[in-house]
């Protein structure tokens, strides 16, 4: 399953050492195996590919396909997810499930557009959202959409070609946005702070990881995540009782591989790479989109709140609420001070009241 998905990656450790990047081209040693995709990498870059103004279609140049050593080099990594190029194929969901052996989300028709996945949870680590809005997408040209407005009206000028009355021109914009949601791997992570067992840790690459063998399933991380990502897996699924969420494919990253979802993303809507690079690319992409008419495009990376930014950030069209994302996510530890103050005050008041009662009334 994994081998078919990750073609250039089935190389052994020796092969991996021989694979080097130079000028953005992967040099694969061709050791007699007829690996066509590998041979193709030897070709010089087509001139058109060298001008990489656009983000999509970077193919082999992309950080999504490269081997890396971010874990060994302790470099912060991230996901940048761009809905403007997402085609809603859900390959990321499938790849995630296959690689990580995640149970299914249930086979039910939700009636919510093409989304039958629902929400991120213990068994849903990638979730493609299908947002339907009565708004314009970029400089999209919209015509009449409803059945009502297409009724031919008496006296209207007939169309030359079809003989059918032209539809009444009404601005009836509609857009369909796909966005692959994932654990945000917060800079200040609520789940990590809440975990009483130390099961949830920060990895070398800055991601937030649940150590399954340590988690005892207390469920406190579930209510501490401001994004509703992590959840406890119910019975009778395998590994039931523990808390689960996206691992950022830490196991793959340790071996220099790219997370499964980014690896398979056919349009590179999900980009994996160094966080600094991605932030720069995100800003650049936002500018590009705004220039071509995506007025309501914005980056979703709450650096202003107590979460202090997320490692898996998004470009969104419109308001975060439409994607079920909180616009001002807060790490719950900011509430500790006032709550503990009230607790200590109550503790002292109870002690004083009790001792006073016995002192004066017995």
């Amino acid at each position: 399953m994994s081998a078919s998905m990750a073609n250039p990656e089935k190389s052994t450790a020796d092969e991996r050492r021989s694979s080097r990047w130079s000028d953005g081209v992967l040099e694969c040693r061709n050791d007699g195996t007829s690996d066509i995709s590998c041979r193709r990498f030897h070709l010089p870059l087509a001139p058109s590919l060298q001008y990489s103004d656009v983000m999509i279609g970077e193919g082999i140049q992309s950080t999504n396909q490269r081997k890396h050593s971010y874990v060994q080099d302790h470099l912060e990594v991230g996901f940048f997810t761009d809905p403007s190029v997402c085609i809603g194929c859900k390959a990321c969901e499938v790849a995630c499930k296959e690689w990580n052996n995640v149970p299914d989300d249930g086979f039910i028709w939700s009636g919510n557009s093409y989304d039958n996945t629902g929400h991120l949870g213990a068994s849903t680590w990638r979730h493609v959202m299908f947002v339907e809005q009565d708004r314009r997408k970029g400089n999209q040209i919209t015509g009449p959409m409803g059945l009502v407005s297409q009724k031919p009206e008496v006296g209207d000028q007939k169309s030359d070609l079809t003989g059918v009355a032209p539809a009444k021109v009404e601005d009836d914009p509609f857009r369909w946005i796909f966005l692959s949601d994932v654990c945000k791997h917060c800079e200040e992570a609520g789940c990590l702070e809440a975990c009483p067992t130390g099961s949830i840790v920060r990895t070398e690459v800055g991601s937030v990881l649940v150590q399954n063998d340590v988690c005892n399933g207390c469920g406190y991380c579930v209510v501490s995540c401001p994004f509703g990502v992590i959840d406890r897996r119910p019975k009778p699924l395998h590994d039931a009782g523990g808390a689960f969420k996206c691992t950022f494919c830490y196991d793959r990253q340790k071996s220099g591989l790219v997370p499964a979802c980014a690896k398979v993303c056919p349009t590179e809507s999900i980009v994996f790479g160094r966080l600094d690079d991605l932030r720069a690319r995100g800003a650049q992409r936002l500018q590009e989109l705004q220039q071509i008419g995506y007025d309501d495009a914005q980056l979703y990376d709450p650096t202003e709140t107590s979460v202090r930014g997320i490692h898996a950030f998004f470009l969104i069209l419109g308001e975060p609420e439409a994607y079920g994302l909180p616009s001002k996510p807060q790490i719950p530890t900011i509430y500790l001070k006032s709550a503990w103050t009230a607790a200590f005050a109550t503790a002292i008041a109870s002690l004083i009241a009790t001792v006073a009662a016995f002192a004066f009334l017995s």
């Binding site: 086979f107 009565d134 509609f174």
Partner: protein, 332 residues
């Protein structure tokens, strides 16, 4: 029903009524979702905790405050009362409470992992340590108290036991007050709007309810003394004030789980039982009735708060409304 059939049924219904009833399904007037957020999917996750947790909140809170009463009684030589309080505190706090918590774990056999780390910033970790410390004080305290009361040993050893009983009772009382109040911090410092919006009220409520329950239970067991009656008055008065606070301190859609729904009713009934009703009954000298009213109220209210968390956590509007209210805006 096969999925295809269900799809046909949804189409049929949508065509006929224009609306499909169901979670997150809304096709009224066209394909544009009109529900708040993303198809009314929850933004945060509701708690996974079941009945064990509110029952633990009740028993743990009572046990903790029983140790406080035991300390007060021991200080003023009411040995029988101190013994009774310590016995129940040990059973409820050192046996039943850990048992309930372990039962609620997804992986009960890993319960000892709770003591793997000490994390100040995790109320759950602090709670695990507080409960452990309470158990480590209340059990030896009870044993020392019993040995001393029955004068099993003579002379110096008996005096040492007396000292040990005093010290361990003191420790139990200190950790007991924290055991009764930390649960409010536990659910107050979460991402659930109905909880974090009331994070100052919760520890006061849980702690005071624990104290009132401790006094009420001892009174029901026959310890009818003015000191316990006073504690009962104090707890009921504070709870009445909290009822008023809760009624005034509304946050609209953000905390409607507290004021509406079944959870709202549970909280309100609980607060009335351990607030004004207990106060009035105690005023008219109906102490046992007041005690029963307070105990039931405290128990019902704990279940109400957990239920409110579940409803609030499943309601995307509560999160959005809480964000809009100025309460959560960080002051920088």
């Amino acid at each position: 029903m096969t999925s295809e059939k269900r799809l046909d049924e949804l189409r049929e219904q949508a065509w006929k009524d224009g609306v499909v009833a169901g979670k997150g399904v809304d096709v009224a007037g066209g394909p544009i979702p009109r529900k708040p957020g993303y198809y009314a999917q929850p933004v945060v996750k509701p708690p996974v905790w079941t009945w064990e947790i509110p029952l633990y909140f009740f028993l743990g809170g009572m046990a903790g405050m029983l140790a406080v009463i035991a300390l007060g009684a021991a200080m003023f030589h009411l040995v029988e009362l101190a013994r009774g309080a310590m016995w129940i505190a040990a059973i409820a706090g050192a046996i039943l409470s850990p048992l309930l918590l372990i039962m609620d774990l997804g992986r009960p056999h890993l319960f000892l992992n709770m003591l793997r780390v000490f994390k100040q910033r995790s109320a759950m970790s602090m709670g695990a340590w507080i409960l452990s410390a309470f158990g480590a004080c209340v059990v030896p305290g009870l044993i020392a108290l019993e040995l001393h009361t029955h004068h099993i040993f003579a002379g110096t050893l008996d005096q040492l036991l007396r000292l040990a009983a005093g010290l361990f009772t003191f420790g139990s009382a200190i950790f007991g007050t924290l055991l009764a109040t930390y649960t409010g911090v536990l659910i107050g410092a979460t991402a659930i709007p109905a909880w974090f919006l009331h994070r100052t009220l919760l520890p006061i409520h849980f702690g005071t309810a624990g104290l009132g329950c401790a006094a009420g239970l001892l009174e029901l067991l026959g310890h009818r003394i003015p000191a316990l009656n006073f504690i009962g008055f104090y707890a009921a008065a504070v709870e009445s004030a909290l009822l008023i606070w809760l009624t005034v301190d509304k946050h609209g859609a953000a905390d409607r789980a507290i004021h509406e729904h079944g959870s709202g009713w549970l909280i309100r009934i609980g607060e009335i039982l351990n607030g004004p009703l207990a106060l009035v009954l105690r005023f008219f000298g109906l102490v046992p009735f007041a005690a029963v009213s307070f105990l039931i109220g405290a128990l019902v209210s704990r279940f109400g708060w957990i239920a409110a968390g579940k409803i609030s956590g499943s309601d995307p509007e509560s999160v959005f409304a809480a964000e809009r209210s100025s309460v959560t805006t960080p002051r920088r």
